[in-house]
Structures are given as C-alpha cells and as structure tokens.
Symmetry: C2
C-alpha cells in the first residue's frame, strides 16, 4: 500500500506545576490517543514553565515544524495565565476581546464580570473560538495552533471541537503480542529481523516484570492493516521457534 | 536573602510509547520532585520518539542549555533501544563494552549472554555507570547527561545514584493556601498584587471544581523560607479582605 504523507502534531504543555512535579500531566496521552483516531501522529511534546520567552520560542519552533500544535494550560484568569499573550506574540498579532465570549461571560457572571475574567475573553486577531462544553470560557485556534485548557476534564471537552478541523491521515493500526516467561534479551533477535523486514511498520518492545511474572508486550504499529495482521502471525511463529510459549494476541 | 545562581535541569523522555498514548509517563514528576530536594530546578522537558536525529538534536540542545539533562527510556536490548547510540553520537564519541557491566551480566546470564544483552553493556567513551539497584544493567553518565531506564521502578532506583553527583542549589520551599467557595476570577486581583510585591517568589493558582465544590490551590514557592511564610499570611489576609472564607494553609 502506498504510504500517504503523514499528518503530524506536537503538544506544548505550559505550566510550572508540571515541571515542579506538583501536578501529574495526563493530557499528553489523552491528546495522543485522540489524534490517533484521526490518523494524526503526535511527533513531539514539550513542557515549559510560565515564562513568556520560553513559550513563544517553543511555540514558534513547533508550529513551523509540524502540521498542528496543541497547547494546554495557562488560559485562566490569574496573572500566571499568559498563554494567550504568548500565542499572540508568537504570531505577531494583537489580542482582542471576542464579543461572543464577552456575551457568554456577561450571561454567566452578570455584574461580576471583572478585569481578571475579561482576560479569558481575549483571542488573538485572526483566531477563532474552540468550544468549551464543560465549564467556563472557550479555548481558541489561530493558524495551525489550538490553545486548550490545562484542567484535564475541560481539555478533553475542548478537544472534541478540534478533531473536525484537522486534516486527517491514514489511521495507525496497533496490535500487541504479549509474551510471558521470556525476557527481552531472547526476544530481541527475532524481533529485529521482523523490524528490518517491515520498514513501514514500527515494532516496539515494552517489558514487564513483577510478582506476577515477567515478559514483554510487543507492539506492531502501521497503516496497512493486512501487513500488521500478517506480521503478528510472523512474530508469533518466530517466538514459538525460540521456545517462547504463553503468547497472547491483544488488540491495540 | 541573596539569590544564589539556580541549578537547572531538563528531562528528555525517549519513546514512541509515550507519544502514541500507550504508556502514561510518570517519570517526569518523579524526577522533578527528586531534583527539588537537591535545589535543582527542572526547567524544561521534551518527549521524542525512537528516531536518532530527533534524540541527538534534542539532547545537544538541552545539554548545552541546562546544567543537567536526565534521559529516560530506550536502554533495553531490543532494536528500538537506541538511546546509548544517540548519546554517543551527540557527544561525538564511540561506545564500548564496559568490563564491569559485562562481568555483572556474565554472572547473571552465564551462557545466555547473547548479542542483544551485550548491547546493554555499552557506555560512551568517557562515561561512568549509574547504578541499577532494581533489575538488570545500569544506566550511565557522560558529562552533564544521565541516561536512565524508562520503566518507572528502575528509573527511580537509578535516580538514587544521580543525586549525590549533582551540584546542589538552594531548595525551593512551597506552601499552599487552599481556598474553597471562591473562584479564580475573584482571587486573581489580590494574587497579582502579591506576585508583583514579591518578584523572587512564584505564585500559582490551580483551580479545582467538582461535586465536592470549587475553589483554588494557591501555591507560593521561593527559596527564602521567611518570605514564603510571610507571604502566606499576606495572602490569607488578602483573601479574607475579599470575603473568602474556608481558607486552609497546606504544607508543600
């Protein structure tokens, strides 16, 4: 099968709380799995603190390199929420108060729509809203950059409005062969032979060990489902050849 | 208090399985919290796939920019474990089989020390071992770069051999003021005034909301414990001034 040009994306995670270890990021994996359903490859991720120069530089690098960038974090009302300012600076445009967001906020907060909350209505010139179905003000899109919240439940809600805007690629199909009682050291040779025979596929080995035993999850990923399925069977046969048993085929 | 020159570090997470969303990284937070106990600031993190050029470029950027780099992942025996090769390439040196690691492996695997397992004994010229107290071969250090396993339990074990090698900084003290029943929109103004009055501190706001209510965790971080403690009290007073109650002081 001809390989279509892959569609690529990067994630830029913004926030001191991730780099201090205070908050465990879970957005990266959620975004990766979501993009995969559209055939978009997450190619890189970066985590930067709440520092304007860092955010601007990272964003400009990533948006010039990949088809899409998704940022998370820093879009709330407090002084450390500087993502909108940084995105506008990266694109060399101004921020303006989006009238539709101001209207939503006026309904929600009535007389309590203060300066801090109005900060969340700011969108760079040329940008459009990304709907927030969960709680509070929306994110926004400008060019190939989507600016989403950092709170995971809100981020995932916003993501639903990102997918329909993406140029999609061929979806990657993943299958796992789980082998128990055989270490990576003996699996490595047959796995490498298969990897070399299938340059269009990605073959990975993810070992496990613990009280319940040891072994490895061997993951085969590719865009040609027939090749992936055939390679699963080649791998199972190769593992049997080296004496491995307790082999399980797992979807995904 | 005079501000000592901060000691900085970056984390480079290597592995397709993180970017595909298959594996949830937990190493970043563990490393961040560990480095914090030595007064080392985690300033940036990147996640790259199992691609030589990506790993080499990211590593060279980060090691030239920060005092230390810690990499995780890609040091096993399979074909997709290319971290040692990439680190050697980044430093422009060769890999060699470390005799001490070969000796350990010979004891462990006896006649089953095959080519795949020998790959894990390779260390760049000029590098030294990082002990693995958990399972299997060690990691290594070369220059300001520490190369650790990706499996979290092993990574954390190796980390214990990293700390004693670090130039340490002044430890950051963090205190949290938790306020319930007041949103970020009303907290933002007094918080910003405090942030401007204390440029040596970092003040962050991390909102929460759910069935149990809403509010924000306001985190004050700095290297001068007296200033942090005084600012906690200023913040509590400022929150009381705007009518917030249900204020709790939390360590860390």
């Amino acid at each position: 099968m001809a390989q279509a040009e892959p569609v690529t994306a990067a994630v830029l995670i913004i926030g001191d709380e991730i780099l201090s270890g205070r908050t465990q990021d879970t957005n990266l994996g959620a975004i990766a799995r979501y993009l995969a359903t559209f055939g978009v490859d997450l190619a890189e991720a970066r985590v930067v603190g709440d520092i304007t120069a860092e955010i601007v530089t990272a964003l400009n690098t990533l948006r010039n390199r990949y088809d899409y960038v998704i940022t998370t974090g820093g879009i709330g009302p407090t002084h450390d929420d500087i993502t909108a300012d940084c995105v506008a600076e990266a694109f060399g445009v101004a921020l303006y108060e989006h009238p539709e967001i101001i209207a939503m906020m006026t309904t929600r907060w009535a007389g309590e729509l203060n300066a801090a909350r109005r900060r969340m209505a700011r969108v760079p010139v040329g940008g459009s809203m990304v709907k927030n179905p969960v709680n509070g003000p929306p994110g926004f899109q400008i060019g190939n950059v989507f600016v989403l919240a950092g709170v995971p439940s809100i981020m995932r809600g916003m993501l639903e409005d990102v997918g329909p805007r993406l140029r999609t690629g061929a979806v990657v199909i993943a299958r796992t062969v789980r082998v128990e009682g055989a270490g990576e050291g003996v699996i490595a040779a047959p796995l490498e032979i298969l990897a070399k025979a299938h340059p269009n596929l990605s073959l990975g080995s993810y070992p496990f060990f613990g009280p319940e035993g040891y072994g490895s999850n061997l993951v085969i990923r590719g865009r040609d489902g027939a090749e992936v399925a055939a390679t699963v069977e080649e791998l199972v046969a190769a593992l049997a050849d080296i004496g491995a048993n307790a082999i399980t085929r797992v979807e995904g």
